[in-house]
């Protein structure tokens, strides 16, 4: 029913310095230049305050794009516009185009988009009234699609996030009985269980300890070849570790984006360099 990986790339507007991605440190699986999602002059407001001032950016298919920038630069808002979560905040609105494949997501029901574009939040958000198993299935049951092979779906999703061996004996315990890092991986499994095409992560490690963080980063590597991923992070080392492409936001604008290595070693814009060298932010 749902085609999982439409091969056609949407209308792409390569921006700034971004050319064909240079060979990347890892994972070297399938570097592609086609864009899975792209935004076109995306603007967003909270009330009268404009927090995104026209961002045009293409997100490469089955690659990890990191969005970095100082607090308040609009990076989370940008991410939340990609699955129309931004507009769920009272008084918030957005304008511009966001392409998912060939479709402008602002012309279809947000429910459809959110199904195709999964999201993982800053803090782990398992539903406290559901077991581990039912948390994994929550996306499907919320969409009224309890699958026939529920157990297989649960196992596969939990395998993907490396949680299966840790929890297979206690699938009926509440999702909240897990540790913080496990909860976050459970949430990733929950997002993956609905078979999204894109996975958005909003500072997914900021509430976790270093060991749990390392585990999630490892997971992002593993998933990189399969999903188009966008991760917002305030941690530059994390961006350098996990992303193929990095975009630097500053004061609601995209300053530059490019292959991670290139952006970190040879930034084009002085503001990027200032941020990377710690002169502000």
């Amino acid at each position: 029913m749902m085609e999982l990986e439409p091969a056609i790339a949407g209308p792409v507007r390569p921006i700034g310095s971004r050319s064909t991605p240079a060979p990347l440190p890892f994972p070297p699986e399938r570097p592609r230049s086609s864009a899975k999602m792209s935004t076109d002059d995306l603007r967003a407001w909270f009330g009268t305050q404009e927090v995104l001032k026209g961002v045009t950016l293409a997100l490469a298919e089955r690659q990890v794009t990191a969005i970095i920038g100082p607090s308040g630069c609009g990076k989370s808002t940008f991410l939340r516009c990609l699955n129309r979560m931004h507009e769920t905040v009272p008084g918030a609105r957005a304008q511009g185009r966001v392409w998912l494949g060939e479709q402008d997501i602002y012309t279809v029901d947000p429910v459809v988009t959110r199904r195709r574009v999964g999201m993982v939040f800053q803090k782990p958000t398992p539903f406290p009234f559901l077991s581990i198993r039912d948390n994994v299935l929550a996306g499907l049951t919320l969409n009224r699609e309890r699958p026939k092979h529920a157990h297989a779906v649960v196992e596969q999703a939990l395998q993907q996030v490396g949680l299966w061996d840790e929890v297979k004996d206690r699938l009926d315990r509440p999702g909240t009985s897990l540790s913080g890092g496990q909860q976050q991986r459970l949430c990733i499994a929950r997002a993956l269980a609905v078979a999204p095409e894109v996975l958005l992560m909003d500072e997914p490690c900021s509430a976790l300890d270093p060991i749990a963080t390392a585990r999630i980063e490892e997971l992002i590597h593993e998933l990189a070849g399969r999903y188009t991923m966008v991760i917002v992070t305030h941690n530059m080392q994390q961006a350098a570790r996990v992303a193929h492409v990095t975009a630097f936001f500053y004061m609601g604008q995209l300053v530059e984006s490019g292959a991670t290595e290139q952006l970190f070693t040879n930034p084009k814009d002085p503001r990027t360099e200032d941020y990377l060298t710690g002169r502000f932010g």
């Binding site: 699955n83 979560m85 769920t88 009272p90 008084g91 947000p110 429910v111 459809v112 959110r114 199904r115 999964g118 999201m119 939040f121 803090k123 782990p124 958000t125 398992p126 539903f127 406290p128 009234f129 929550a138 996306g139 049951t141 919320l142 969409n143 909240t176 909860q183 949430c187 929950r190 997002a191 609905v194």
Partner: protein
């Protein structure tokens, strides 16, 4: 030694201790008051209880002139009207709570909230007045004949359409407990962290699915608590019920029939009662009413607090 270094320290602490003692005494007074009420009502009811024993509770005859006292008809009337009221008010109140907590546009929230608060502020006697002159005629002339035409085969809709009776009392009670139910349920819904809602939306839930499948399950104990508080209010509500229920000590299946509640019995007879047994039996009614609302409160507050507490601890709640 210390006193010489800081000569005012001791005076300070004495004044502080006095003040502290005063406030604690005032707080303790509330506890004493509750005990005094229970004790006093118990003492007043004791005589009648000793004479009649459990028959006081199970007897179906209430005859002050014949010195026979059984309060079952009033218990029945109280429970029936209160449960009916809850049945009517609960779905509406839940709708209001969901609307206010989740759906209302920013501009509508404040006016609707104020309106619901005003609904709660209107005194019982005014609802009674409205019941007698607006609700009862409407029931008598429009609603009850219609119900009888279409659903008259049900025993609850049998009997003459006189307006005054169980149905009128239940409707007035429903209006009166609705604001309580709605306000507490709304607060309970708002206590569920935003992160939980976003998680559901991000999984592709529609807004309504988010409410039904992610928010309501977590809020359920609190909403049950709100209903218990509403039930407590309905059980003890006096004036409006007294004015529209018809005041007859019958146990009838029909919702059109007049009945009487424990509270309306007190309102009707207590000021005129002179016989010791009669007064005692009435005091027993008061005591039962007080004790039941106390128990309902005990349970309800526990439930409401559990939601507020667990919501604060639930994932994404500390934001």
């Amino acid at each position: 030694m210390a006193a010489s270094l800081n000569p005012t320290a001791s005076t300070h602490s004495v004044a502080d201790r006095w003040f502290r003692g005063l406030t604690v005494a005032a707080a303790a007074f509330l506890v004493l008051l509750l005990l005094a009420i229970l004790l006093q009502l118990g003492r007043a009811a004791l005589g009648a209880l000793q004479v009649f024993g459990p028959v006081l509770l199970t007897g179906r005859t209430w005859d002050p002139a014949g010195a026979t006292f059984g309060i079952l008809p009033f218990v029945y009337g109280t429970v029936l009207t209160s449960l009916l009221a809850l049945l009517i008010a609960a779905p509406v109140a839940l709708g209001v709570a969901v609307y206010l907590a989740e759906l209302a546009p920013e501009g509508a929230k404040a006016p609707v909230t104020v309106a619901v608060e005003l609904l709660a502020a209107v005194p019982s006697i005014v609802y009674g007045l409205w019941g007698v002159f607006v609700l009862v005629p409407w029931l008598r002339d429009t609603v009850q004949p219609q119900l009888q035409t279409w659903l008259g085969f049900l025993p609850v809709f049998s009997g003459a359409s006189i307006g005054f009776g169980v149905l009128a009392a239940s409707l007035v009670l429903a209006v009166m407990i609705l604001p309580t139910l709605a306000a507490i349920s709304r607060d309970v819904l708002l206590a569920i962290p935003r992160a939980q809602r976003e998680a559901a939306l991000a999984l592709g839930a529609t807004r309504f699915e988010m409410i039904r499948d992610a928010v309501l399950p977590q809020a359920l104990p609190g909403i049950v608590g709100a209903m218990m508080l509403g039930l407590g209010r309905a059980l003890g509500e006096t004036m409006a019920v007294t004015m529209v229920i018809g005041n007859r000590a019958d146990i009838s299946l029909s919702w059109f029939a007049p009945a009487q509640t424990m509270a309306s019995l007190l309102a009707n007879e207590y000021a005129e009662a002179t016989e010791e047994l009669h007064l005692g039996a009435l005091a027993f009614v008061g005591l039962s009413l007080f004790a039941v609302t106390l128990l309902l409160n005990l349970g309800a507050r526990g439930l409401v607090r559990r939601v507020a507490g667990s919501a604060a601890r639930s994932p994404g709640g500390a934001r």
